[in-house]
Amino acid sequence: MSKKMIVSAVALALLATNAFAGGHCASGKTLEKGKFTIATGNPAYFPWVMDDAPESGQGFEAAVGYAVAKEMGFAKEDVVWVRSSFDEAIQPGVKNFDVNMQQYSITDERDQVVDFSVPYYTAPMAVLVGASATGTAATIEALKNLKWGAVGSTTAVQKIANSVKPNNAPLLYADNADVNAAITANQIDAAMFDLPTALFLSAVMIEGSKVIGQFPSSESDDADQFGMLMEEGNPLKSCVDTALNSITKSGILASIEAQWLQDTTGVPLIK
């Protein structure tokens, strides 16, 4: 036997095991035999999918999609990407995908008509600062000296009190617009939001503001959790959940998050 043949034999054997693992859990449950069909937005955005090309595996959701597929035993080429609109996917009915990933927050209302996997992302709390404080380092020490604000009805209040413990009592407001007004009037330096909200506010709403850091996500923040969306009663759910749990445990999910949602967005983890 030549060396080349041995390599191919090993590769074949590996493929067979993988196929077996896939068949073990997902066989007969996918839309198309031997294929794993993932839907994404049309178009799909940064940093969830880079350049609207999920096939590249670049971007947070694209990378998570391939990681889950691999865990379930599908080869990279067995992953099929389709597009769906956001609203169309959360309506009841037959779907053209096995799972759909486009930042679907898991809510009880949606759970009535579709199924969600266990969360693959928990939106962490992030620090938004006004123009005068953009130079602040992403450390607890530096954050303590800022004048803080938050929306009074959110868990951000507890996050400030428990994690930052600022030297000055924070000011609290009724809604995001009032926090914006206070940042603009320079009455507060920093405000606590979940990361997607903070990125949106800094990009669109408050001139000169910047998201300078994010906290490690935690259950107690009661923040949005994104799950893979499936047709109601999809038998694939337990299989997807097992795969997600396993890449969570192995740290693969965390490293994907670090690559695409911390390094790429330029919002470092607060130390």
């Binding site: 009074g152 009805s153 959110t154 924070p170 009032d178 009037a185």
Partner: protein
């Protein structure tokens, strides 16, 4: 010997005594009936248990009450510096509107415009506009503090009301007193300061007490622009515990302050009525 003689009362006094006792007993019974009905009937309502859990939750109340009292200190602080400022500004506006000299006519216009504007705009709008608007002009810290500008909004609004009450007090002093004082050789200034104002202010004390009580509650509106006073603190706890009991706790604290104040205002009002009769 008849009974009323033994008690040292005339027949009429005895009759009145009996009537009083009768009406006291009836009032007592009727009050007890109403209270008992409420105590027994309200818990029979199908939603009572849920309401009790989310509005009258003892565990949540004991957990949050001390912190609510703490936050109430912020209310007291804002009240303490706003009330004297309101009294002074209100009196000045009232005097401006009452200026007699033709040269001071612009002052009268100013006084009228001031009361029209600040009585006509809801307090919360004034708090928003001044509390976010003026600091937005680019004032440096600490001069852009919501405490300063929020208090100013309260002061402006309330002095408009207070000025109107002072003016009513000034008008309530009979013009003959002014004429008499002038004929004695006192100047306009002296007449106002020594003859009219002492009577005018005394006449309006009960009405001004009511303004103080209203101000005490409206201090909470400052929570909309940032300060964490009792209302905002209660809101934070409401979200944290998903329970409305902290609001009830805040209401209790307000009542502890406002009920004695209201009773005192009533007492002053009644005393004044007696004196005038």
């Amino acid at each position: 010997m008849p009974k009323y003689k033994a008690a040292g009362m005339t027949r009429r006094e005895l009759y009145e005594h009996q009537q009083r006792r009768r009406s006291l007993i009836i009032a007592g019974i009727s009050t007890i009936c109403v209270v008992v009905t409420i105590i027994f009937l309200v818990p029979l309502a199908p939603g009572w248990e849920k309401v009790q859990k989310s509005f009258f939750n003892g565990a949540v109340l004991t957990k949050t009450f001390p912190k609510l009292l703490d936050a109430f200190r912020v209310n007291i602080m804002i009240f303490a510096w706003s009330a004297p400022a309101i009294a002074i500004l209100g009196l000045m506006i009232a005097l401006a509107r009452d200026a007699k000299s033709p040269a001071l006519f612009p002052l009268r216009i100013f006084g009228a415009a001031f009361t029209d504007i600040f009585r006509g705009v809801p307090v919360i709008l004034t708090v928003y506009l001044i509390g976010f608007g003026i600091p937005g002009l680019g004032l440096p810290r600490p001069w852009n503090s919501p405490f300063i500008w929020g208090s100013l909004a309260l002061i402006l609004t309330y002095s408009a009301y207070v000025a109107e009450i002072f003016r009513a007090g000034i008008d309530s002093v009979h013009p003959s007193q002014r004429s008499a004082a002038l004929s004695l050789g006192l100047s306009e200034r002296q007449v106002m300061k020594d003859v009219i104002l002492p009577q005018a202010i005394r006449n309006v004390v009960p009405s001004q007490m009511n303004m103080l009580i209203a101000l005490q509650k409206d201090v909470s509106l400052l929570s909309f622009i940032g300060p964490v006073e009792i209302f905002r603190q209660a809101g934070v706890y409401k979200s944290l515990f998903a329970n409305f009991t902290p609001y009830v706790g805040a209401a209790i604290i307000f009542l502890i302050v406002t009920i004695p104040a209201t009773r005192y205002a009533d007492y002053l009002m009644a005393r004044q009525m007696r004196e005038r009769r």
